[in-house]
Symmetry: none
Subunit: 169 residues, 2 copies
Amino acid sequence: MFNLKQEATATFLILVRVSRTNSYACTRTDCQRQFGTKCASCRRLIQPTDWVRRARHFVYHLACFSCDQCKRQLSTGEEFALQDCRLLCKQHYMELIDGDGGKGLQKQKAKRVRTTFAEEQLAVLQTHFQIDSNPDGADLERIASMTGLSKRVTQVWFQNSRARQKKYQ
Amino acid sequence: MFNLKQEATATFLILVRVSRTNSYACTRTDCQRQFGTKCASCRRLIQPTDWVRRARHFVYHLACFSCDQCKRQLSTGEEFALQDCRLLCKQHYMELIDGDGGKGLQKQKAKRVRTTFAEEQLAVLQTHFQIDSNPDGADLERIASMTGLSKRVTQVWFQNSRARQKKYQ
DNA sequence: GTCTAATGAGTTGTAATAAA
DNA sequence: TTTATTACAACTCATTAGAC
């Protein structure tokens, strides 16, 4: 078992795009013997065009980079903890270490995390919005995987965009 | 547990740049068995081009060299304390040792710390400013990691630079 | 003294949430 | 789902204060 406390301290996420240069091949460490790089969460191969996030030597699909407990996708700048290859958001990490609502912390009201979209992600979303401003579940999922966003975040973006359009005609 | 008092007394930071010469390989100490040098805070590998700070035998990314309590990045010349590999600014170290608001110190209002940029850091910032004076979050983060500054400090520099440019046309 | 990094107040756009 | 609201992120501008 890992020293989570140490791991979680001031660890920030960086959004990177996998390319031939930063997608690395099999490194023979004790814990991983793989041929291509696989997502540490879903275990599927990572394609050179996929968006990913890294934590230590693990690589995750951007959408797979989510809290193991609440499944919420983690955002750039957010603090998180690693338990082996499993990720935890700050909130659930805190609950874990001080056995839920510990005396040290007095319910600090889980700060709302706001996604910041990359230029490219926004471009994809806007393009699809022009074609269809009200995509169904399947479309939503397709768009989500194209942008590396979670389905929920994608859905909310379309909801807000419809409201925005209506507001300003 | 560490003698914090001893560590904090007149401990000054020195800004160094990692190079092949001062980035050291795996040393087989009892506490660390690693292949490359890893940041004692974020635990990620330190690249030869990264800016770092050292404290005792620990190495940190410059941006990771921040107070464990207030997350403020520590500056050259500033006093700090070490608790294992976790860093504390003078203020929070003081609070720790005399159990918060101790009788010895009466709330001395945390002196503002002013970053002094190295020539090379300034060169990088100015070069990017000429290309784009208003970088987005992702660019900011990229520039920050190039210079070893925190994202916030980088952001403020761009803000001030835009104001400066506007003032003198 | 100058220059400018940091701060704080105030504005804007919009992601996330809540209500219907 | 829509609609209204909340609150976060990032900006500007004015000011304060640290390094030279």
